[in-house]
Amino acid sequence: MSTVSMEAALLLAGILFMLGLISVLIRRNIIFMLVSVEIMLNAAGLAFIVAGTRWVQPDGQIMFIFILTMAAAEVSVGLALILQIYHQLKTLDSDAANIMKG
């Protein structure tokens, strides 16, 4: 078991997740929102690592690898969507994209 207290590490994961959530809520630029989602995914992965360290098992790190894979796929599709929105609407404002019409 590590010398770092698990409560502090889980608290760090929670704070990072909350910061990402706040950023998703207050920002209107789509790229900023994508970055905030990355922060939240990273915080979730940190929580898995903390749990894996607490019980000295590799499962937490494996979950982190899966989260990493999903984040990579998500950011590639998300950036393609952002490019498409920018070409269609000529803006990055997410409120401008609330019309569901091609």
Partner: protein, 178 residues
Amino acid sequence: MELTFYIAATVAILSTVMVITRYNMIHVLLYLVVSFLAVAVVFFSLGAPFMAALEIIIYAGAIVVLIIFVIMMINLSQEDVQREKEWLQPAVWVGPALLSAVLLAELAYIITAANPTQTEALVAVDAKVVGLALFGPYILGVQLSGILLMAGIVGAYHLGRQKKKVIHRFLQERSAAA
């Protein structure tokens, strides 16, 4: 090791706060890289060195570079020399540089001062155990993430393609007449 964790956690929280309060996108990405590096140091202090390396390579390397490419593609028309000059002011890079210097000092401390005989309190789950579990009981998950990555590639290609509108010439004449 415990102090290392707390300093890295402070750096992570500070840089994430800077991420969500800046307006310039490049500043945001600079602080985002610092935040990922700090979380990598946290992983290292928690006894997951392989995950720290993956965090730096994939998050701070690949994903941030991908976002920078998209920003460059979008902002290409408005770019000018004056703005380039503004970006190189010391006020831009001094914050991320200071926070990164804290992380570098921590790394130097871990490598030099940490006594190998003292680390039995910290049982590291090393990469070999992770690899054995990944390709043993979790092999289905590996295959599923392979399918996910394939879907990501195809989806990104399909969405990012510039669709050229092809109109049949009869319809073209009709739309020109109308």
